[in-house]
Point group: C2
């Protein structure tokens, strides 16, 4: 069984986890990225440099890669690619390739921060008030429903890119001329938590849940986290999963405010801090391999230890300045 991971970027350790899990079933991991210097490419069994995900030939290119390497399952590690894959599930399935992604509707809700907040409040789940209209922000500010500082984010974005904090009405008004789609939220003053879940692809049941407090962020990713167990958080995530109905690996960001937990973001993919869960025995990679082998994962009562800290650090790789062209990098 061979698995294709798309947009692998810097996620070397996740690719290595797939490699070691697939080895047990004589499978291989194939990695693709549009950047030949993406480090994780060079830690897969085989890799290919592919067009950018917004290139019209991208999906056809992936299909060719799947055929060439006899791929059983395919998944992506970045948000903007999830919708694209969800849109082409049937085409891949026709060729016997399983796409590990949530339904199109779920993926779209999660990618759009305004839709996320609408979905959460429609389902009675605690969320951060989210505006797309500056006049509404000003109205709510004037009646005392909202206060500065406010956070301005791209409506569809990831990795904390383009996030700004505004402290005054004047600063806010500058965004009246903003042409990019943005959302405006109050600044939430609370401890941030991240929850990694795996939802079985056949039973659609929640199989694993790993909770962690985020201690340090760096370049929009969890750089240091500590494992926790919290009953309220667990209940909240279970309620969310029940209504959102995601599939496979999913990462949920929450804040603990004075009024309890609120959900801030949902990423229906391997989260940037997943390795913490993995190192504490929550092996979603093994779950995927099992699902792709046709087996249902049972609810895992794998207890994990609380109060363990995960820290990230940098390693380096030296490589030839390969031609920027698209091609094969069979190891």
């Amino acid at each position: 069984m061979n698995v294709l991971i798309c947009s692998v970027g810097r996620r070397v350790k996740l690719v290595e986890a797939f490699r070691s899990e697939l080895q047990k079933v004589n499978g291989r991991v194939i990695a693709v990225d549009c950047d030949p210097t993406a480090p994780a490419l060079h830690f897969a069994d085989m890799y290919e440099v592919v067009p950018r995900i917004d290139d019209s030939s991208y999906i056809d290119y992936l299909k060719k890669v799947c055929k060439k390497y006899e791929v059983t399952g395919i998944l992506s590690l970045i948000d903007p690619e999830l919708s694209l894959l969800a849109n082409h599930v049937e085409e891949f399935e026709k060729e016997g390739i399983y796409v590990i992604v949530s339904d199109k509707q779920t993926v779209d809700i999660c990618f759009d921060k305004y839709s996320t907040s609408q979905f959460l409040s429609d389902n009675g789940l605690p969320c951060i008030p989210t505006y797309i209209n500056i006049d509404e922000v000003i109205r709510d500010f004037k009646v005392g429903k909202l206060d500065f500082p406010l956070i301005i984010k791209p409506r569809k974005g990831s990795a904390s890119i383009g996030i700004n904090k505004v402290y005054t009405l004047e600063e806010l008004l500058i965004y009246k001329n903003e042409t990019a789609e943005i959302v405006i939220q109050p600044f939430v003053n609370g401890q941030e938590f991240g929850v990694d879940c795996y939802i079985d692809i056949f039973s659609r049941k929640l199989i694993n849940m790993f909770m962690k407090k985020k201690i340090v962020m760096r370049a929009g990713e969890t750089d240091k986290s500590i494992s926790v167990k919290d009953y309220d958080l667990k209940q909240l995530i279970e309620r969310l999963v029940n209504v959102l109905k995601p599939l496979g690996p999913i990462d949920i960001d929450c804040f603990l405010t004075k009024d309890g937990f609120v959900i801030s973001e949902i990423n229906p993919r391997f989260g940037g801090g997943y390795l913490h869960a993995h190192m504490q025995g929550q092996n979603f990679v093994e779950n995927i391999v099992k699902n792709l082998s046709g087996f249902t994962n049972q609810l895992q009562n794998i207890e994990y230890e609380e109060d363990l800290i995960m820290v990230k650090y940098e390693d380096v790789k030296l490589m030839k300045n390969v031609d920027k062209g698209i091609g094969t990098g069979q190891i």
Copy 2:
């Protein structure tokens, strides 16, 4: 021979390089940091959690660590600690401990971005015009000597923290009320280069020079770089080293503008992208061990290959949530 590395932070690979180099001479690397979760602590032969560098007991604490582990040489990896160590060189030397740091005057010039630019222009070296007075900026803007965008940086700072870009006079005027010490520079539109040098501690001669183009930055550090050789850049760095007279490892940032290279920053320590040089055979760690053993390093004509790319990626470590108190972590 044992070497103490201070403020090791996330620099796991550099600590490992010291460990492997010291093993050859039956030496050990001892790491200290104020944060017990600093990943690099846990890759040294021995580590200690110490007070913060601004704690009045810090230097005494370091001396105790030196005594306990029979340390021969000591160095720091962060800018704010260089002045501190340079201030106490004699005290350490009295106890037979060599401090690998440039002279106090050199360190102070480099840490203060205004002093850096003054030093460079006094010595006829190309630099970025640097202001500390907003009225002077406005005056030069009005006579057409300066244009927006401008970059505002902390006068003494590192890791790209607190850097802002301003596009208009109104935005600039906001900084009139800034109480923190800042410098104002024109935004330089040019390719950035980083140069890693080693200056022998005895001969005070330039022993190694490794040049790289910076391709991608992340959290203020070089994330992707490509090895280059440039005659003009080499000449410029040689001129700089001749007048600045640094010692040990040093990292210099430059921009290539339409008028040629300009020096933007000088870090008289191991640079954040040093591992590129190291992996291409420019082994400053070996140089340090040789210097600490009493030998002078000869000019190294180690040719390095051009057009090799270094990429960084993240690894993770899981650890117990150790007590925040100061203590020993002997492995």
